[in-house]
């Protein structure tokens, strides 16, 4: 096998190259030749092709994501914005929090356990790379129909993978979502989020500066994982000698990752690194080019020094390998020894693979010969940008005209009761405890709230009781009906969930799951959703700190529902003031905050009872969301409420049932004047929450709502062992508990 060196490439300008097979477009290949002033070497071609892929370069989404940086709300909390491994916000008392959500959709369909496991591993390394100790994970998940046979393959594997990896790392899982919809049948969405905590001065960035500083690769050995595209390279340009087909699947080793976390935190503590980057998609190609691109100067790497698991790997493959559990650090020469000692202490393999140079190029050598010589920015940050055509789909009007208002409503109290029970027991509304009980929510000893609470909450400081909360939400049905409003509803729901727990929403991350950007319909959904989210964040004062885009989520021509998932991070000064969802005290009064209209488009009721999706999603009123959040936070701080639960899919009755089951207490509800029982129970109007108020606080609480202009309606009392809607029906707690808790185990256990 002849090595395709820079010299060789210069001398053989006409050699045919498999740029097309590697997913590059003709003009992209031409641009690479233009940048380099020659044809790329095989290694360079491999690097450009992965770094310019949709996944790494965001080439289709970039022009829309720009808005998140342009429409930034006034917010003093923001410390590090979009562009780094994860954003960072100030949560007070000298603490900073970093958080992010990422997708691992496609790998999880092929190999559910490992796909989901390595998804957790990847997001945790992102958080670690910012300088933070990871303190919690969340997992928004979407699967095909609950009763589809393939869901029985995918869901248990994904859940076991998330648990298997996260539990072994010692990260409490404090929230997420489980949604079923046949649109995700061939394309489940496995998103994973992580929160990390550090002191302000510990923030680290991914940059390589200071000529002479060492580049250290540490963690797992490099194997042939996840280098699908490169096998093309190996077979087409070179005579293939090594194993012909490399696995596209990566296998995770959570034990190795746990060591990597502890080792890295100890290294941070001794201030031994200048810049640091995790290895994720595109492996070393990504880490070296991004570090060099973000820093000053160039970088020189001796690829032979990389510790291998498989000695037959070609240099291209080493550059591309997505072997898990690896990090890359920039270390001053006199700190290298100490760095190595700490790695040895934790049984972590560490190797100096190169150094920062005072040049401007990323140069990579193999057996003494140069195989890469590129300006790093052109690889990492100056990839192609597409302005993909988009247009409102021809079917959008018809979909919106198919109003859910015309669906037959329950005619009798008995029918209403049956439909309520059906909604509560439907896979989407049913308890997810069978799933979430496979996750450790207690580890680290700081968990204040976890599933099934509205938001997860962890204590950050044992002495002051400072804490942070996070919720993740998305509703593909709403977004399908109106992507702009759907994105805002996802944001609003997540924001409301955080506020309901008593925390003040600070900032957001997101994971935008969409179909093919080459489809103008999908691109329109994407454009609308990002515009909605950016406008929404501006209105709510919660900046976007980062996120992730997952495109090409489709089966054949059929795209998934547009599914923007939003994670809102909040802060609470005193976790002892947190608000749980459980109704626990008999005699407490139940109040509905916000206004209820007849809003059934995209609702759980329309889906469960009528298998219908049409009309418009609930109206968005972000000013109202803001006010509601303020009231919920003040009420929690001043001890005016003992429980709060936000209202979302399934409407009021769903929330009341969950709060009753959680507290093991019943509720007597009265349908307020001006509302019919059906609308009262099942409408999904946004901007609402239900709270449980001690009688001694009633006046103070309603006065506060009145003074600030938030509609508040007394709807009942915590009492008995049934959910009773006076004059209509009663459902015993035991009947509700059976309906709510037996669905998921019935399907998957």
């Amino acid at each position: 096998m002849t090595l395709d060196t820079v010299k060789h490439a210069t001398e053989s300008p006409e050699a045919a190259q498999p740029w097309k097979e590697l997913g590059l477009k003709e003009d992209e290949y031409a641009r690479i030749r233009e940048i380099l002033g020659r044809r790329p070497t095989g290694a360079e071609l491999a690097m450009y092709s992965v770094m310019w892929s949709e996944h790494c370069s965001y080439k289709s989404s970039k022009v829309h994501l720009k808005q998140f940086g342009e429409k930034v709300p006034e917010n003093d909390a923001m410390l590090v914005g979009i562009g780094e491994n994860a954003g960072v916000v100030d949560v007070g008392q000298g603490y900073a929090v970093t958080f992010k959500v990422e997708s691992h959709n496609h790998p999880s369909y092929i190999e559910p356990y490992q796909g989901a496991a390595t998804g957790v591993g990847g997001i945790v390394r992102d958080i670690l790379a910012m300088g933070a100790r990871p303190v919690a994970v969340v997992d928004p998940l979407r699967f095909g129909a609950a009763d589809h046979p393939d869901t029985k393959r995918v869901l248990p594997g994904v859940v076991a993978g998330i648990g298997g990896y996260g539990n072994c790392l010692g990260l409490p899982n404090i929230g997420g979502e489980v949604v079923f919809d046949s649109c995700y049948q061939g394309n489940p969405l496995v998103n994973a989020g992580c929160i990390g905590v550090m002191k302000h001065e510990d923030i680290h960035l991914a940059k390589a500066s200071g000529a002479g500083n060492k580049v250290i690769l540490y963690g797992a050995r490099t194997g042939g994982d996840g280098i699908g595209g490169v096998s093309v390279l190996a077979s087409e340009t070179f005579e293939s000698t090594g194993p012909a087909k490399r696995p596209a699947v990566q296998v995770g080793d959570p034990f190795q990752e746990k060591l990597l976390i502890e080792c890295t935190l100890e290294i941070f503590k001794e201030k031994l690194v200048d810049g640091i980057q995790d290895l994720g998609g595109a492996g070393l190609s990504c880490a070296t080019s991004e570090l060099a691109s973000a820093g000053s100067g160039g970088m020189r790497v001796e690829l032979d020094t990389v510790p291998l698991r498989d000695a037959t790997l070609s240099p291209e493959e080493i550059l591309m390998s997505e072997s898990q559990e690896r990090m890359c650090a920039i270390v001053e020469p006199d700190k290298v020894d100490r760095f190595m000692e700490i790695c040895e202490k934790w049984d972590v393999i560490a190797t100096v693979i190169g150094e920062v140079t005072d040049g401007e190029r990323l140069e990579i050598f193999w057996h003494g010969e140069q195989i890469v010589d590129v300006p790093p920015r052109t690889v990492a940050h100056e990839g192609p940008v597409y302005h993909r055509p988009y247009a409102r789909p021809s079917w959008q009007d018809a979909l919106q005209a198919d109003d859910a208002a015309k669906l037959p409503r329950p005619a009798t109290a008995e029918e209403l009761k049956d439909q309520v029970l059906k909604v509560v027991a439907s896979p989407n509304q049913a308890s997810k405890a069978w799933i979430t009980d496979q996750y450790d929510r207690f580890v680290q000893g700081n968990t204040i709230l976890a599933q099934p609470e509205d938001a997860g909450m962890v204590r950050v400081d044992e002495d002051t009781n400072l804490g942070v909360a996070m919720a993740t939400d998305g509703n593909g049905r709403y977004a399908k009906l109106d992507p702009y409003a759907g994105a805002q509803l996802a944001l609003a729901e997540s924001y409301r969930n955080v506020a309901a727990s008593g925390a003040k929403p600070l900032a957001i991350s997101n994971c935008l799951n969409f179909g093919s950007p080459e489809d103008p319909d999908v691109m329109w959904q994407f454009a609308e959703a990002t515009r909605g989210l950016a406008d929404g964040c501006l209105a709510l004062g919660t900046p976007v700190t980062g996120g992730n885009v997952s495109l090409y989520n489709q089966t054949g021509e059929t795209a998934i529902h547009p599914t923007p998932v939003v994670a809102v991070l909040g802060v609470i000064d005193d976790v002892t003031r947190r608000t749980p969802i459980a109704f626990k005290e008999e005699g407490q009064l139940l109040y509905l905050l916000g206004e209820t209209g007849e809003e059934f488009g995209g609702s759980a009721w329309s889906g469960v009872v009528h298998d219908h999706l049409g009309g418009l999603p609930p109206k968005v009123d972000l000013e109202r969301e803001r006010l509601l959040a303020e009231i919920l936070i003040s009420a929690s701080r001043d001890g005016m409420i003992d429980a709060a639960h936000d209202l979302s899919d399934g409407g009021l009755v769903q929330a009341v049932v969950e709060s009753c089951l959680r507290g093991d207490k019943g509720a007597r509800l009265v349908v307020p004047d001006g509302l019919d029982a059906f609308t009262f129970l099942l409408s999904e109007s946004a901007g609402r929450a239900v709270v449980s108020v001690p009688r001694s606080e009633e006046l103070r609480f309603t006065d506060m709502c009145g003074a600030r202009g938030l509609p508040v309606t007394r709807i009942g009392v915590v009492d008995g062992d049934a959910v009773e809607v006076q004059g209509h029906f009663a459902l015993s707690l035991s009947e509700l508990r059976t309906a709510h808790t037996e669905t998921i185990p019935g399907l998957f256990a």
Binding site: N167, G170, P254, F255, D437, D440, R441, F442, T447
Partner: protein
């Protein structure tokens, strides 16, 4: 001077910092112990905390058992030093044969995290003196290899000698034989259990109960009284 309680960290241990906190909450001094060191730093008692030491690869606890620190812990335990193994720590103790039996994959094959009700069957161990025999407590349980098994003879012996220290109540979460959640050695100084008392020492955190604090106050009292 208060008691010094060592908390061992193996590679992959997860609950070491929580256990140190629990020791402190009870009023004792927590002394971190590292798996590579034979030196127990003159501690008065040792806790082997939960987690996935060595990833639980091979079998839970199988690799940790051979660490240098365990050589000392085994010697000292045989000489009467109080040792508590929680979850992975319990698994290590069975692998060392300081405690009889073995831990296997849960009968339902899933990891399970729940608030678990237990009965404290014995208040005669070093770690349970602050409870009363028969007392019911709830503390978190979280594991995938939590099914306690031993042959019939061993089980009968444990029962006869009053060495079943904790039993699951309401639900047997993993198929453990005779609902056994934890056991003790003959002398009562070595105790192992699957559920996690260290996650139940502060109100608000986790399940919001403090039912696990008794483990740490028991040992503290015993050690201080012994002085």
């Amino acid at each position: 001077m208060t008691a010094r309680i060592g908390v061992v960290t193996f590679p992959g241990t997860l609950d070491d910092r929580d256990t140190q906190r629990a020791v402190r909450v009870a009023g004792a001094e927590a002394v971190p112990l590292w798996h590579r060191d034979k030196d127990l730093k003159q501690v008065d008692a040792v806790v082997l905390p939960g987690g996935f030491s060595y990833g639980d690869y091979l079998r839970a606890g199988a690799i940790s058992r051979f660490s240098p620190v365990m050589e000392s812990v085994i010697d000292q335990a045989k000489a009467g030093m109080p040792v508590l193994g929680i979850c992975n720590g319990f698994q290590v103790l069975t692998e060392t044969h300081l405690l009889p039996g073995a831990m296997l994959r849960n009968n339902h094959l899933h990891f399970i995290c729940r608030d678990q009700k237990l009965r404290v069957e014995s208040d005669r161990t070093a770690w349970t003196a602050d409870y009363e025999a028969g007392q019911e407590i709830s503390i978190p349980l979280k594991n995938i290899d939590g099914r306690y098994v031993a042959d019939e003879r061993t089980l009968d012996m444990l029962e006869a000698e009053g060495r079943v220290a904790f039993r699951y109540l309401d639900v047997n979460p993993n198929g453990s034989l005779r609902d056994i959640a934890g056991i003790t050695n003959e002398a009562g100084n070595v105790v192992g259990l699957m559920p996690h008392p260290e996650h139940a020492v502060e109100p608000l955190i986790g399940t919001g109960r403090t039912d696990g604090l008794g483990f740490f106050t028991s040992i503290l009292k015993k050690l201080v009284d012994a002085r």
